[in-house]
């Protein structure tokens, strides 16, 4: 795989699953899940 392809794959995964993880942690900090 080229460097560009690897970067975009990681970019996609990080933005979605990472973003969701941040949102879930915000909800958990409010003790509301």
């Amino acid at each position: 795989m080229s460097v560009g392809a690897v970067i975009f794959m990681i970019f996609g995964l990080l933005l979605t699953w990472g973003g969701a993880a941040v949102c879930i942690s915000i909800a958990m900090r409010k003790r509301d899940v």
Partner: protein, 498 residues
Amino acid sequence: MKRETWGSRAGFIMAAVGSAIGLGNIWRFPYMAFENGGGAFLIPYFFALVTAGIPILILEFSLGHKSKGSAPLTFAKLNKNWEWLGWWQVLISFVIAVYYVVIIGWAISYIGYSFTMAWGDDTTAFFVGEFLGLTDGPFQLGGFRGVIVATTVLAWLISFTVLYAGVKAGIEKANKIFMPLLIVILLIVMIRGITLPGAADGLEMLFKPDFSKILDGRVWVAAYGQIFFTLSIAFAIMITYSSYLPKKSDIINNAFMTGLLNCGFSILSGIAIFSILGYMMHTGGGELPGNLSGVFLAFATIPQAINQLPALQVVIGVLFFLSLTFAGLSSFISINEVLVSSFTDKLNLPRRKVVLWYTIIAGLVSLIFTTGAGLYVLDIADYFVNQFGVAMSGLIEVIVIGWMFKLVTLREHFEPISDFNVGKWWEFTVKFITPIILGITAIQNFYSNFTANYGGYAIGPTLAYGWAVAVGILIIGIILGKSKWKDASILEQTAEDV
């Protein structure tokens, strides 16, 4: 009548994500990305998520939460003159439900076929011939297909059982089972995929960025279309689901979670599908398989790939079609809930009675898609109800809510109860960005369909299964919008009352 509520916030998120994640995440997104710039497609895709997908999710979550009612009731509470818009969305859901269930039936059938790999060497011929019994044209029904009828009935029975049990004991519980299972199964299929020889070539095809494509306006319209159709917006589902939220519920963070988890699932699906396609190229002398999206990807190309696997063929076959079944069922249940909730509100009938009658009536209608002409009818109805139903009702929804009502009132409703604020960008996206993009899509759709028939079909089938359905549900929606509520006091109820 006291309105049911979700048992927990996690239950609502699971149900909303379960609704958004459907067959399109598995068989539409990967090909869209591949066709429209590979990794570079993710730029317009995420831009569309933030400027249209999540803002409309916030809009629909807050509408349902504020009105505590189904889509027709929500729009009727805003203004009785707009009730028809809610009914139009409900009828769009009905049309989608009656063909979507048959695809779930196909997936269930293929779980069984996976044990013996009954599709043989020519998977396309098996799918259209032996399995679908596809006739020569959309008007030649060719009789019912026994296996498809049986598995379609099974899908209806599952939906009936879940909906009959109610929101908390049925929908929430089902999604708490389906969603974790779906993710685990997808991960297993993905790991099998990326450990195959040639997988890296497939992922290279999917993620290699072609930046020239993002200068093309059509790619941006495609990205907005993909986001719009993947999030279950504009056909009343999210309004219905959020109407079961308790009074003190977050709106904004829930919308972000739903949107991000849905898109994250799409990317995992893309990795699974394209690593398998890469393996097929590896074993096929570098040639890309013919069908890379839609039903033929799932029911012809993937079985062909399973045939070529060096080991675990049955396991991967069963898991792949189980993932399609779970993804489909969670969306199907949400679509059916739209109708159940709407008629329960309108007719003031017990929920269980509505579930029973709805399942019988919709189940009978869905049988047309189990005939030898089912794939033709499904293809035409799906195209027209999406392009002229979902997209158009979405356009009207954002114009009506964005321009005829005070968006700030809605923002004042959801910001104080949410984990974080969105500010004025939300109003800007709902008022300007989404209507402009959906307006462009609508013009494109009308132009392309008035200059040529969809899919090369003759005028007769497109009129009967396409235009007649699209226009018919709009007319019936208007008629239902004019009809009386069995218990008119429901229109006066506020969130505090229910």
